[in-house]
Structures are given as C-alpha cells and as structure tokens.
Amino acid sequence: MENIITGIQLATTPEALIAILIGLIAGQILGAIPGLTASMAVALLVPYTFYLDPWIGIPMLLGMFKGSLFGSSITAILIKTPGTPAAAATVLDGYPLAQKGKGVKAMKMALYSSVFGDTFSDVMLIFAAGFLASIALNFGPPEYTLLTGFSLLCISSLTGNSIWKGLFSVFLGMIIGMIGLDPITATPRLTFEYLELEEGIGLIPMLIGTLAVSEALRQMEQPVKKLASSTLIFSKQKIDNVVTFLEFKSTFPTIIKSSGLGTLIGAMPGLGSTIAAFLAYGEAKRSSKKPENFGKGSLEGIAASESANNAVSGSNMIPLLAFGIPGDIAAALIMGAFLIQGITLGPVVFQDNPVEIYAIFAALIVANLFNLFLGHGLIKMCKHVVTVPKRLLFPAVLVIASAGAYALRGSLFDIQLVFCFGVLGYIMMKCDIPTVPMLIGFILIPIFEENLRVTLLLGASHDLNVAFIFTRPAFVILFLIMTFTSLFILKRRKLRKLENINN
C-alpha cells in the first residue's frame, strides 16, 4: 500500500503533471500532422528522456504516446491518411463523415471512445500485470526461451501479408541484434574489426531510422503536387459539431465491447492494434442495428475502431511488465526509454522497482484524463495543423531525427546508422516486408539467445538431455497454452484468407 501511495505521489508531482501535459500536447500535434505516426513521434522523443529526470521523461513519453494515438486518428478522419495502420479502420467511417462537413463530430466521437478504451485497458493492466509477473517469477531459462521464441513467431506471422516475410524480418532483426560482443565469450561477432560496431547497434538509432526516416523517405517520393497542403470544409451548424448524449448512449455498448476485445488482443504479443481495430469494427457491424450505415459515416464504426485500437495501448504493456517482452512497437519504444533510465522491465521489476511501476499506472490514468480535456483543444486547432506542407515537414523530421540520434551517445556513427536503417526500412516497405518484426527480433534476441544457450547447457548436464524441459511443469503448461493460441491464430488466418477470397 505504501508503494502504491508513493507511486501515485511520484506521478502527480507538479513536474510530472506538467511533463504529461507537454507530452500530450506534443503528441497530439505530432500525431495530427500527416505522415508523423504515433510510433514515429515517440521514437523522436525517446533519446531526450535520457537528459530528463526519469519522473519527468517517462510520464512525458507516456503522455506523448497517448496523445499521438488520438492525434493520428485525426488525420484518418480529416484527410483519409491514417497516422498509424491502427487508425485505418477509423478512415472507413470517419472520412465519409468529415466529407459531409461533420469532421468535428467524428473527431469528438473518436476522442471519447479513445479515452474510454485507453482507461479500460489501463485498469486491466493494473490488475493483470502484477498477477502475471508473480507467475513469471517461477520461470527459468527454458520457459523464457519458449516465451520469447513464441512471441517472435507470433509477431512475425501476424504482421504483414505473408508469414515468410514476417519471419525473414524477425531473422534480420535477430542478426542485427547479434552484432557486437558475444554475451558469454566476449568475442566480437559480425563486426569486421570495426570498433564502433563492437558496442553493438544502438536501439534508438535503429528505431528512429526504421520508423521515422523510412516513412519520411516513402512520403517524399510522392509527386510534388501531393506534397502541398490539403483543405477540408467544416460545417458551422452546432448539431454537426457535437456528439449528443443520445448518440453517445447508442454507441456505448459498442465502445464497451470493442474495449474488451482490444484489451484481450493487446495482451497477446504480436497481434497489435490494427487487428483489434478491424476485428472490433467487423464485430460492431455484425451486431449493429444499422449495419448498412457502416462505411458511410457511422458513429458506431468510429467508436468501435477507436476504442479497440486504444485499448491495445494499455494491455500491450501486460507482456512487457510481466515478462519483459514488448507486445508491439509502442511497448518496445517505452521499454527503450526505461532501459535508458537504467530500469529493466520484466517480472523482477515488481520486486525491485514497485514504486516506479505504480507511478507508471498512475501516470497512465492521469494522461487519459488530460487527453480528454486537451483533445477538445486539439480538435479546434487541427484545421490548421493538417495543412502543414509535407515538403517542409519531412526535411525537418530528418534533421530532428539526426539530432535525436546524436544526442544519446554523442556519436556521428549513430546519425549514419539512422539513415542506413531509414534506407533499409524504405527498401523493406517497398518489398512489402514488415519492419516491426525486425525491431522486435532485435530487441528480443539477447533474451532469447542467452536463455537458449543456458537451456542447452543445462540439457547437456542432464540425463534426459534437452528433453528435460518437459519435466518442468511451468514449461509444459506454457507449451500447451502456446499450442492452443497458435491453433487459434492459424484458424483465424485461414478464415481471413477465405474472407478475402470471397470478397
């Protein structure tokens, strides 16, 4: 109890509250700028958190992430450009509504459902993460090998259009993660005697390059005309600019159902907010009294996709806090920020840093409340923000990305890495190879390799050889759970394929 109170106090100091506010404002604005995704915005901020006090930097980052998630739905609604793939489902109804002059109404609906979905999943995170972490404390190297291996498999098979591309992306990330000194023998690996590579590839340059620079390169290849600003008309009638109580009441069951679905999906590594948004959208359409309105500007459609994709943001921290495994790229970025501050997330964090964990929980809830109030301000501002010309925006993004990468280690090599990874990410995008599995593979390889090698070492000294892993109850239970989950995923993939063929 004492830890909880101290945690809440830590997250509600004036400095932390101001940090959350600044993070939210910056996140909402950056998220609302076409082409700047939520992950990209957070990736740009992560290096700076190193220079801030942990309890200013981390709440700012959490605020920024939540703000940019809502901000990214604004571009989806107003200019049919989802800030993140997760907001793609919001386009389906948000954009038609905006074209009718009801852009403000659509954005307000998105704001209310986003905040509700976010809060719902944060509450679930608070209750589930500690419980799962207490189970994870019984895990040894074999269980961790299985868990990380399974997460890599899930992420690779569920991101992108084909399994082999996801797998190849994971393998590529794992190989990049092996550059540097071997963790056991300290022998240089894949460095070609290049001293700067012996330190290993930095997470931050890789994240900034793959997320921000590659996206900027992709956007800049567009014809000159497309890089100019866009315009949209907003209705002046009051009814078109508010969400009435009746409208909210009629969508509330959809919001609750979609938040639950999003939370469940977010807790599984690799599934992510895009799948949650589309599943919730499909389910809302299936169970709606007016399914014919979907795709033509239905508030229910916006509520479903927004509450589900935001619900993922809290619950995808469950595997991160409980097992130290980031469920998606957003969690990976937050993990990076914690690592910068010297805090390694995982089951022991509940024992070693309980105050910090409760402070995170408190910061998440506070950020949701602030998001609701600030969101209204953003909606008024967004008419101007969405018109920033891309031809000025993206060169600026590249310069800020370079400065951010340099800031962390003071190394020119990191700036060069940012652009190399930017080009790599761009080529991968062009080949339709997802980049997220590569980043997760890069992050998870040290845990996976270390535990795999220890497991094999333990097996070598055991009578049953490697088969000893099946004598461990925790391993067997985990193995069964993962087998059933894999079957479920395969079945869902098959269904999706059939649906695509039918369509």
Binding site: Y48, Y51, W164, L167, F168, F171, L172, M174, I175, M178, D182, I184, T185, T187, P188, R189, L190, T191, F192, V213, L217, M220, E221, Q222, P223, V224, K225, L227, K390, R391, L392, F394, P395, A396, L398, V399, I400, S402, A403, Y406, A407, G410, L412, I415, Q416, V418, F419, G422, V423, Y426, C431, I445, E449, L452, R453, V454, L456, L457, A460, S461
Partner: protein
C-alpha cells in the same frame, strides 16, 4: 511499368536467398572467430546463434519458394500486377543520395547546423518549395529551435564539423 506479382515475389525470394547464403558461408566465418576447444559444455560457440538464425532464414525462404513457386506456381498472385514507377524510383534514389551525403559527409565537415541549413533548403526546394522567403527563413527558424532546445535546454552540443573550427582558429 507493370510487373507480375508472382515474378516479383520469386525474384525477391531468390535475392534474399543469395544474401542469406552469403551471410552463412562468408560473413559468419569471416567475422566470427570461435575460441578453440569451446563447445556445448562451455555454453556454445559465439557463432552458434548466427548460424542458427541464418539456417532458419535459409529454410524459410527455400520452403516458401518450393511451396509456392515450384509445386503451386500459378495459384498465388497469378493475375495480380504491381505497378512500378520509374519516376518514383529515380526521385527516391536522388532523395536517398542527398540524405546519405548529409549524414556521411556534410555533418562531419560543415558541422550539424550549417549542414542542416543546406540540407533542409536543398531538399525542400527539390520537393517543390519555390518560395524564396520560406526557403530562407524556415531552416533558420528550425535550427534556432534545435539550438535552443539542445544546446541551451539539454546541454547537448551537436557536431561542430572540421572546417568551421579550423577557420575560426585561422581568423
């Protein structure tokens, strides 16, 4: 230019397969020196994990190729086409070239601020910004914001470059 998606996928797999084989048979042996008499009882060789990942990548690609391009060559993407724009391609090549010059050469020689001023002006102009005032003031404004937030706010000193310190020492 229109490309058949089947052909595109097939070529991609073959290119990646060549890279994977190059990684397994040249990069790993050339860049990792395993300690002598080091084996399973000591915690496995440093090259164990790279080989493991390399072979997994190899088998994934071979499996995909055999399954979809040898046993079932016409079923997937048979009618799908990919449009490839030469204009986009040349444009992106130019942008990437400018970015690489900026990161590998300009920052090191001219310093971060001067290099970035030139970079933003050139790139914005290339992307279609023709207003002279914007081209002049926008980079200066951005650099001022970067300077204030980095050097004054966080005490982070961005690279000075080689030329400017030498010039200042001369004068």
């Amino acid at each position: 230019m229109i490309i058949n998606k089947n052909f595109h996928e097939k070529s991609l797999i073959l290119i990646l397969l060549s890279i994977t084989l190059f990684f397994i048979f040249w990069i790993i042996p050339e860049s990792i020196e395993d300690p002598e008499n080091f084996g399973l009882q000591d915690g496995l060789n440093p090259s164990f994990a790279p080989y493991l990942v390399g072979f997994f990548a190899f088998f994934t690609l071979v499996f995909e190729y055999v399954k979809n391009h040898i046993f079932n060559p016409k079923a997937r993407f048979a009618s799908e086409k990919i449009s490839f724009s030469k204009e986009f391609f040349y444009r992106s090549i130019k942008i990437i070239f400018v970015c690489l010059i900026y990161s590998f050469f300009l920052i090191e020689t001219l310093g971060f601020y001067l290099a970035s001023l030139i970079f933003i002006t050139l790139l914005s102009f290339f992307l279609g910004e023709k207003r002279i005032l914007i081209l002049f003031f926008f980079p200066i404004l951005l650099m001022t914001v970067v300077f204030v937030s980095f050097e004054l706010g966080f005490n982070i000193f961005l690279p000075e470059g080689i030329i400017l310190p030498q010039l200042s020492s001369i004068f």
